[in-house]
Amino acid sequence: MSRVRLEHVWKTYPGNVVAVKDVSFGCEDGEFLSILGPSGGGKSSTLRMIVGLEEITKGDIWFDEELVNKLSPHERNVALAFETYALYPRLNVYENIAFPLRARGQSKSEVDKTVNSIAEALDLTDILKKDPSALSDGHRQRVSLARALVRRPNVSLLDEPISHMDERVRAVVRARIRRIHDELKSTTIYVTHNQAEAIAVCDRLVILHQAELQQIGTVDEVWNEPANRFVASFVGEPPMNFISGKLESPQHVSILTKGGKEDFEFRGEVDPNYVGSDGISIGVRPQQIKLSRSKGQEASIAGSVKIAEFQGDNAVLTVKLENLDNSEIKVVVPAGRMGGEGETVWLEFSPEIIHLFDGDIPIIQRKRG
């Protein structure tokens, strides 16, 4: 298994279309890295350059200490599994998995040993004799994965491997993918446009948007310290809410409502030059807002529940803030506390959930730990 490093990598297509712009990041040996972003953001081009299917316009890609820019996909020894990765229809599962080994000229007993061990890791032992046409989606995907992994690749690249799979099995397939990674101690790069999926499986996230690297970090870092407003909105569903406010002091931000000014304390350091600025964006995640049905001691904003959407264990409330130009804010509450539409509620933002942005740029520094 290898460490993968991209250094100032560019991809430009004819007509000066920049698909990847000066992107640098590393994936450690044994790490599970998700590359996340909206479609057209540069994910696929990046992936294809790592695999060797796409020429690098500028910059370097390293596997450990080896520069791989000029190596063919075969020489890089990477495993690539797509969701739609076609299996050989005339070969049974065993033969599909054995194919890359036979192509390398391995002996019959070697092939047998390797196929059986990967089949066991992926729980495919019972279906080795079946033909691809007789398999469920989940099985087919695992066979494709087995065939990719059986070569003991330096890196496994999974490109949207489950985005069209039946929802019933997705949670289990994610668990399996993570398990396989942990068991084989492989280096895995997982590409998806689905933020929930990216978060579910990875150690760290790389977020690409408009050809540029937006942030690389652990799930914790991306969730709690988004590098910019795009990341703050893109990760999380429903997305982060934004309300305009004024920085009153290095510890307080205020929101001016028809009912008066509400002061909210926040945690972390802010550049003192911002004190006195209004037009600061206050970001709060719907999952972290505290909702009360009576006004408490803490600073809060009043609103009324416009729409309540039951989701099972949770409910998503759309709260209309009458004192704030009828703007709307989303709050996620446990389903038992959903209440009814039309109810008056108070929203509290505790110091640690407040994010502040000047335009796109976050302006709070938080101490780690």
Binding site: D123, S136, G138, E167, R168, V169, R170, A171, V172, V173, R174, A175, R176, R178, R179, D182, E183, N194, A196, I199, A200, V201, V219, D220, W223, G236, E237, P238, P239, R285, Q287, Q288, K306, I307, E309, F310, Q311, G312, D313, V316, T318, V332, A335, E341
Partner: protein, 373 residues
């Protein structure tokens, strides 16, 4: 605004039964969803209500009026199709305006009024910019919103919406779902809504009908459906991740009854649950077997022992969610998933304690096959 009732309705295509003797009624002003897997008969039901398909037997009523023989245009329904069915030679504006120009209504709206209605609906659904375009210039998601706008622009007796937001990308789907709920609330009109996505059904509906192979499996409010599914099929169809289902043996020891699935997994079942458990149990190879259902958020997970009835399992994998973790365990026949309201860092094969909240345990007869996926 009408009540829509189906009485003993069946639909056959040749000898194939698409809908088998179903009866239900959707109250006036109700948001009523029909959910089920592909091929269950959802769209067929909708088309019979619209009058696009004839019923093979049975009756369809709008209030007390039998409508079996009425053509679609006389039923005063408005329908959005999953396939959009936009008029290719019309602009988006003309497509949305089309129902307002139908013979029955023609003349009743001035051009000014028409423009107001069309633009109002387009604005609401965020497609004003598209009004001058033609369908061929639109993405699938845009076409779908145009189709929805066309269905919602006039006020019929009943709206029939077939997967109206299925093709929108995730974020747009959520926001459009909220808009649809707002619109439904404002109009207060009868809406029958077909979807395969339980999320939409739970969020939008007053009541939900679960359809399985042309038959009714359950009709209930979203809360009832989620908390007390009538079968393993319904439980499995509603919720992400789906409800945990475990097959096990009933074992009695010293006046106590245990549910046992493999060697690692045994819990004592509370006395007040024994009745419902016995009711669902069946004899297999000389053993009393039953299927237990529990949602992932009703299983407590901790590093230390939780109570008398808790047991230990090795961690198979951990997945993170917005503010919680989904922990997977491997049993002999199935995977078990439990939610913890914090981010945990369990290592592979760490043994942790699990405790089932018996207030939320359900017992089912086996009507679906379980696999490890």
């Amino acid at each position: 605004m009408v009540e829509v009732s189906l009485e003993n309705v069946s639909k056959l295509y040749g000898r194939k039964v698409a809908v088998n003797d179903i009866s239900f009624s959707c109250k006036a002003g109700e948001f009523f969803s029909i959910i089920g897997p592909t091929g269950a008969g959802k769209t067929t039901i909708l088309k019979m209500i619209a009058g696009i398909e004839k019923v093979s037997s049975g009756e369809v009523y709008f209030n007390e009026r039998l409508v079996n023989e009425l053509p679609p245009q006389e039923r005063d329904v408005s329908m959005a199709f999953e396939s959009y069915n936009l008029y290719p030679h019309f602009s988006v504006y003309e497509n949305i305006a089309f129902p307002l120009r139908a013979p029955k209504i023609r003349g009743s709206l001035s051009p000014e009024e028409e423009r107001q209605k069309v633009e109002g609906m387009a604005d609401f659904l965020g497609i004003v910019k598209l009004l001058d375009r033609r369908p061929v210039e639109l993405s699938g998601g845009e076409k779908q919103r145009v189709s929805l706008a066309r269905a919602m622009v006039r006020e019929p007796q009943v709206y029939l919406l077939d997967e109206p937001i299925a093709h929108l990308d995730a974020r747009l789907k959520f926001s459009t779902q909220t808009l649809l709920k707002e619109l439904a609330g404002k109009l207060g009109v009868t809406i029958i809504y077909v979807t395969h996505d339980y999320r939409e059904a739970l969020a939008l509906s007053d009541r939900i009908l679960v359809l399985r192979k042309g038959e009714i499996e359950q009709i209930a409010t979203p809360e009832e459906l989620y908390h007390t599914p009538s079968s393993d099929f319904v439980g499995r169809f509603i919720g992400e991740p789906p409800i945990n289902l475990i097959d096990g043996e009933l074992v009695s020891k010293a006046k106590k009854t245990f549910f046992k699935a493999g060697d690692d997994f045994s819990i004592q079942i509370r006395e007040d649950l024994l009745g419902s458990m016995e009711g669902a149990a069946s004899q297999e190879d000389g053993k009393r077997m039953v299927r237990l259902g529990i949602r992932c958020n009703n299983i407590k997970v901790a590093e230390d022992r939780i109570g008398d009835n808790s047991f230990q399992l090795p961690v198979y994998a951990v997945a993170r969610e917005a503010e919680s973790s989904l922990i997977t365990f491997e049993l002999k026949e199935v995977f078990l998933q439990a939610k913890k309201e914090e981010w945990v860092n369990y290592a592979l094969s760490d043994k942790v304690w699990l405790d089932f909240d018996q207030d939320h345990i359900l017992f089912f007869e086996k009507t679906i096959e379980l696999t490890k996926g």
